[in-house]
């Protein structure tokens, strides 16, 4: 459905995207995952025909994003990263306006919006600026869907909204799958990978890999330990004296140690026993999550 071949984008001295190639299949939810500044928005804007790639080609269906931008603009729904509706217009007026400029009416594709609209219904007459963050995003999604696009490009739709709204939003996307809409979503939250069929990991404009979330986990060839207890981050300076092939990092309220050699758990235990910090810490072997996979790929790509 969407194919990228050697896409690069250079802004002055900054390389925002560096030789990116991958394919996105029809009807899947595809996640672009990476921290801020990794090039996700630039990639989405190239696909939305808002930016030209400095090198490479991108195609949506049979259309080239540079040459056939007019045709592409008819079949995509784009939701920019920043809230981009008219704050002084009401929910209803925003929807009607976007319906009009896409040459359709709200009623025409209502079946697509029905789920989302149940949330928005009570606020029909309210000005967009007076909506909560989660509602704003739902309204923006409605506006992006209003002309029944075959491809949805969502730039960080869940950034800055509360966890409940995030979950609701991801549920809505899942429901859209039955309408055969291909959804491309970017997010800095690694845990949202589970909502996607496949994901691409990005860092500093480089593609670290494309796979299903499960595929990424299976490809994780190392052993991962989790250290839990009271403020385990205090252990970090000591743990950093481990051999350099051991990766030590804090994640949430635990400290993770990743090693290519499963036997090294003994060194780890020993180190904790000798530690000046006399606390009871539990060490478990755990399954990697996407963040661990991301870190592993990053270390592979960029070295230490």
């Amino acid at each position: 459905m969407i194919s990228l071949q050697g896409i690069s984008k250079i802004f002055g001295a900054i390389t925002a995207l560096d030789n990116i190639s991958f394919e996105i299949n029809k009807g899947e939810i595809f996640g672009l995952i990476g921290p801020d500044g990794s090039g996700k928005s630039t990639l989405l804007r190239i696909l939305a025909t808002l930016l030209r790639p400095s090198a490479g080609h991108a195609k949506i269906g049979k259309y080239d994003v540079e040459v056939d931008y007019k045709a592409i603009r008819k079949i995509i729904g784009y939701m920019p990263g920043q809230f981009s509706l008219y704050p002084d217009l009401s929910v209803e007026e925003n929807l009607n306006f976007f319906a009009h400029i896409f040459g359709t009416r709200l009623e025409e594709n209502y079946f697509l919006l029905r789920d989302i609209f149940t949330y928005l219904e009570p606020f029909r007459k309210r000005r967009a600026s007076h909506l909560s963050g989660g509602m704003k995003q739902k309204l923006a999604l409605s506006c992006a869907l209003i002309h029944r696009p075959t491809i949805l490009l969502l730039d960080e739709p869940t950034t800055g909204i509360d966890p409940v709204s995030r979950a609701e939003f991801l549920m809505l996307l899942k429901n859209l799958k039955k309408h055969e809409i291909t959804i491309l979503i970017s997010t800095p939250y690694m845990d949202e990978a589970s909502a996607c069929d496949r994901i691409a990991l990005f860092k500093n404009g480089k593609l670290l890999g494309v796979d299903t979330p499960g595929g990424f986990r299976e490809a994780y060839k190392r052993t991962l330990y989790s250290i839990r207890g009271i403020r385990p981050a205090r252990l970090l300076p000591e743990l950093r004296t481990l051999p350099s092939h051991c990766w030590v990092y804090a994640s949430g309220n635990e400290v993770k140690v990743s090693t290519p050699n499963p036997n090294e758990i003994y060194i780890l235990r020993e180190m904790l026993d000798r530690s000046t910090i006399k606390q009871n810490y539990q060490i478990h072997v755990i399954e990697p999550d996407i963040e661990d996979c991301f870190i592993a790929r990053m270390k592979d790509t960029y070295g230490e």
Partner: protein, 365 residues
């Protein structure tokens, strides 16, 4: 596109404060301009120099003092103090009466009267001088009961500090020009820059709307607003300030529309360059407003400018529009005289339209 225009109108109506400013500002501006000039005449301090104690000199002084515009502050018998009083700002006008006033008038010769104005404030000075001339002429004409055609006194006016003479009616065309420029250019440039800032332009670009549809959708509402304002100003100037209106109204309205379109195009052009609302505002202020005010001939007469600036002023649309308004309203001429100015404005419209369509980016870069 209709939806776009409706949306723009909604933006305008949603923000009553801005709307009030947009409609109220022209009213306020023209009232301030108008009354500032009118009230200045109230009881201005003047000095009179009389070298002879005759009856007719007394008559002149009485009449001038009785007039609503003047208050006779000093009566001197020698003109030597005039310069000093002007410098100190004690008087705004000095009248020097002929030393043989009475005998000249009675013998049927025109008497000489010199009127000296402080032209560092040229509008006021001009008004005061004209008022004095009128008053003095009438006084002696009534006294002698002669008909209007015979010259009784010969009043020679001299403007201190700035020896030129300007029409008071300049301020109406000037205000129209400034308000239309401000509204049309600044408001459109800001409103398009706002879409850039909020990111809605991204959505508009991604939509199937063509650039000219976006541009027209932006322009039409402000064109309506500007026309309303232009009409308000014209009505006010006619009925409140009794500005003469000698030419054809349809011609004036179509020329005004032409100028509004030009200003809108310039505003759009600015917004294709400016990234944020602030930049758009500053650009309109400095790149448009100042040259409009300074170089259009509204405040400083073009003939008095150095040659370089005169050429530069030819690039200012407002200069040509001021000519047109003055031509139609005051001189009452038609298109057969004003075709050159009209053609220049139309040419500018074409150039800026081309620039806009060319500069309007279909992408973000």
């Amino acid at each position: 596109m209709i939806a776009f225009i409706i949306k723009e109108f909604r933006h305008l109506l949603r923000d009553p404060r801005s709307l009030l400013i947009l409609i109220g500002m022209p009213l306020a501006q023209i009232l301030i301009f108008g009354y500032a000039i009118k009230t200045d005449l109230n009881e201005s301090d003047i000095a009179i120099v009389r070298m002879n104690n005759d009856k007719l000199s007394d008559l002149a002084i009485q009449h001038l003092d009785a007039s609503k515009g003047f208050h006779v502050k000093y009566i001197w018998d020698h003109p030597s103090q005039i310069a000093e009083a002007f410098r100190k700002g004690e008087i705004r006008l000095a009248v020097v009466l002929d030393n043989n006033l009475e005998s000249k008038i009675l013998q049927g010769y025109p008497a000489d009267i010199q009127v000296i104005g402080d032209a560092s404030d040229p509008n006021t000075a001009n008004l005061l001088v004209q008022h004095t001339q009128g008053t003095l002429r009438n006084v002696y004409r009534e006294y002698l009961q002669k008909n209007a055609s015979t010259p009784v006194v010969q009043v020679s006016a001299r403007m201190l500090f700035n020896e030129e003479n300007r029409s008071v009616f300049m301020f109406i065309p000037g205000t129209i020009v400034i308000i239309l420029m401000l509204l049309s250019a600044m408001m459109t440039s800001i409103s398009l820059a706002r879409e850039k800032e909020t990111g809605t332009l991204e959505l508009l670009l991604v939509s199937p709307l063509r650039p000219h549809q976006i541009i027209l959708g932006k322009v039409v509402p402000y064109m309506g607003l500007s026309l309303i304002n232009a009409c308000t100003i014209l009505l006010l100037s006619k009925f409140l300030f009794e500005m003469p209106f000698r030419g054809s109204l349809p011609l004036l309205m179509s020329e005004t529309l032409l100028f509004i379109i030009l200003a809108l195009c310039i505003g759009l052009y600015i917004s294709t360059i400016a990234r944020t609302q602030q930049v758009a505002m500053l650009l309109s202020m400095f790149a448009l407003m100042l040259p409009t005010i300074l170089l259009s001939g509204f405040i400083f007469p073009i003939e008095n400018m150095p040659l370089g600036l005169q050429y530069l002023s030819a690039l200012i649309p407002a200069r040509w529009f001021v000519e047109i308004i003055r031509g139609i309203m005051i001189r009452g001429v038609g298109i057969e005289i004003l075709w050159k100015e009209t053609l220049i404005l139309a040419g500018m419209v074409c150039i800026f339209m081309l620039l806009c369509v060319k500069n309007f980016k279909i992408r973000l870069e």
